[in-house]
């Protein structure tokens, strides 16, 4: 069975600080996808990134970066120089292609960026 754990329920940082959101996953499959989604107060889940299990290269997109380490089954997300608009709930998720296609979500981390 697949499982995604986001140990940090809620984090508060002051604007311009860097913050890392942790994600640990479990699966016995060798082929899988990992995702991060952002849920702002409006409620819509916004897709941020997808990584496949064969690509451990870290990725940077503007102030966002992701660190994927298969050895520790982790897929952490870092926001550099945080801004108030980054305040949201962030979900880490896992899916196994060609099986049931559903996404298994972590419980989410609520991030507060304080001005």
């Amino acid at each position: 069975a697949q499982k995604v754990t986001q140990a940090q329920t809620e984090i508060s940082v002051v604007e311009k600080e860097d913050v890392t959101l942790d994600c640990v996953y479990e699966t016995r499959d060798t082929t899988y996808y990992l995702f991060w989604y952002k849920q702002p107060p409006s409620g819509e889940l916004v897709f941020l990134i997808r990584r496949n299990s064969f690509d451990e290269q870290n990725e940077i997109s503007g102030r966002y970066s992701w660190n994927f380490q298969k050895s520790t089954s982790s897929f952490n997300f870092t926001i550099t120089a945080s801004q108030v608009v980054d305040s949201a709930v962030y979900f880490c998720a896992l899916s196994v292609p060609n099986r049931d296609d559903k996404i298994i979500f972590g419980k989410g981390t609520r991030l507060h960026i304080l001005p």
């Binding site: 996808y33 995702f35 989604y37 409006s42 409620g43 819509e44 889940l45 916004v46 897709f47 997808r50 979900f91 899916s95 292609p97 049931d100 296609d101 559903k102 996404i103 298994i104 979500f105 972590g106 419980k107 989410g108």
Partner: protein
């Protein structure tokens, strides 16, 4: 439209009534998913459609829940004889062919009094 559209955005109903929630996926997206987001339970998968057929209904919590999709487009999630524990945000997502990324709507917030 540009994104996944769900209606209504909010629904308040009395216990025991039936409700219908609607999802309009992104044009051209062949797969459609329903999830439920409730306090303490996180995001739970409910059902998945490929075209008009539902190969995976494993997440439906009870036989009071059903869903259909017609014309490979719009989907309706129906909850019969609603209970207070059905109160949650119901999210719909769609996925284009040959790409494993799901795009979500803003959800329907259901409150059962």
């Amino acid at each position: 439209g540009a994104g996944v559209s769900q209606s209504p955005s909010n629904k308040v109903t009395e216990k025991g009534k039936d409700v219908e929630l609607r999802c309009d996926p992104i044009s051209g997206h062949t797969a459609l998913y329903w999830y439920r987001q409730s306090l303490g339970q996180g995001l739970e998968f409910l059902i998945y459609f490929q075209g008009n057929s539902a190969p995976d209904k494993s997440g439906l919590p009870s036989d009071r829940f059903s869903a259909e999709r017609t014309g490979g487009s719009v989907s309706t999630l129906t909850i019969q004889r609603t209970q207070q524990e059905d109160s949650a945000v119901y999210l719909c997502a769609s996925r284009p062919p040959a790409l494993d990324i799901q795009y979500f709507g803003a959800g329907t917030r259901l409150s059962v009094l």
